[in-house]
Amino acid sequence: MARALINVPPKAKRGELIEIKTLISHTMETGFRPDNTGKAIPRDIITDFVCKYNGQEIFRAELFPAIAANPFLSFFTVATESGTLSFEWTGDNGFSSTESVNISVE
């Protein structure tokens, strides 16, 4: 599984706006670069990212070849209840990586 860094505040007040930051290691090979022999290096990118809050989808992103290596995504949500935030990245060549973190809401 790819190395990922997730930053979610461990505690939040109910109704508070929280920032979620995610960073994952991936080469994001565009498919347009030639190798030493002039042949194009096949595309290998992350194509989809989904974040779920207690099973409910709260954020989704589609990724394209112009996105840099090791994509960093940051977004906001409202802390509604204690539970789990789960993250899933999927991409070319069957790439799939999942992470989850807990948040306690008071």
Partner: protein, 258 residues
């Protein structure tokens, strides 16, 4: 004006025109200060700094048993957070067995071959960069301290001469950019003073982590000069001089640069 005084003046002026003026210690700036607000924010936040992915890998490799001796780094050195504190701030350091300075990457490979009895890690490989970044991070914020005793002086001098000597088809020296023209622009990019405070670092241009030697090769390529193979003593001498030139400046490993 007497003839002697005139001669002295011309000598001084000629000297000023050919040899670069060293940057006074108080006026030194890390490459960080030449970066945009966005790139600085990336380096400052450990959850946005992509180099932290290598640091996390380095922590894993630190504990992994390697080689025919079946030892991990941790088996000898214990917890890196205490045993490696300040270590990267002192490299390149003198290695008595080799009678020359070695940089941090070479030191890691010496441990690998002599203690772990494993094959040395290739330069710029993920493992070597990750270990160097993980070890380097333990010195973050500590001042760079390079020994300059009698054993080191010839190597420091060689590095100094390489920094100040012209080379390549463009007939440039490192000092012409990094001592004389720092803060100016070179094709839209700011010319920094060339203080290696954050290596190995994540360069946005590379989209990956890279060592100081990789950066030096970049500069040599830009000057259309001959670049040496990785691990060449010329690089280590230059690294040594650059780190000495940055003495007292805080370590920023793992840094981010554009």
């Amino acid at each position: 004006m007497t003839r002697a005084a005139f001669l002295l003046l011309t000598v001084v002026l000629a000297g000023a025109a050919t040899s670069a003026a060293e940057i006074p210690l108080a006026e030194r700036k890390s490459g960080y200060e030449f970066m945009t607000r966005e790139t600085r924010a990336m380096q400052d936040d450990d959850t946005a700094n992509p180099a932290m992915l290598w640091v996390l890998d380095g922590e894993t490799f630190w504990r992994r048993k390697e080689g025919s001796a079946g030892k991990s780094c941790a088996d000898c050195h214990g917890d890196a957070r205490t045993s490696m504190k300040g270590v990267a701030a002192r490299y390149p350091a003198f290695n008595a067995a080799r009678a020359r300075p070695v940089d941090l990457e070479e030191r890691i490979n010496i441990c690998r071959t002599e203690q772990q009895r494993a094959t040395p890690l290739p330069f710029e490989s993920k493992e070597l960069l990750a270990l160097a970044a993980y070890i380097g991070q333990q010195s973050r914020g500590m001042p760079i301290e390079i020994e300059d005793d009698a054993r080191m002086r010839p190597f420091l001098q060689a590095g100094h001469d390489m920094f100040n000597g012209r080379q390549g088809q463009l007939n440039l020296s490192c000092a012409q950019c990094h001592d004389d023209n720092w803060g100016q622009k070179l094709a839209g990019a700011a010319i920094p003073q060339g203080h290696p405070t954050g290596y190995p670092l994540y360069r946005l241009e590379w989209q990956t982590l890279g060592s100081l030697q990789r950066r030096l090769r970049n500069c040599l390529f830009g000057m259309r000069a001959v670049s040496y193979p990785y691990g060449a003593p010329e690089y280590v001498n230059l690294e040594l001089y650059l780190r000495w030139r940055a003495r007292g400046m805080p370590v920023e490993i793992p840094a981010v640069r554009p």
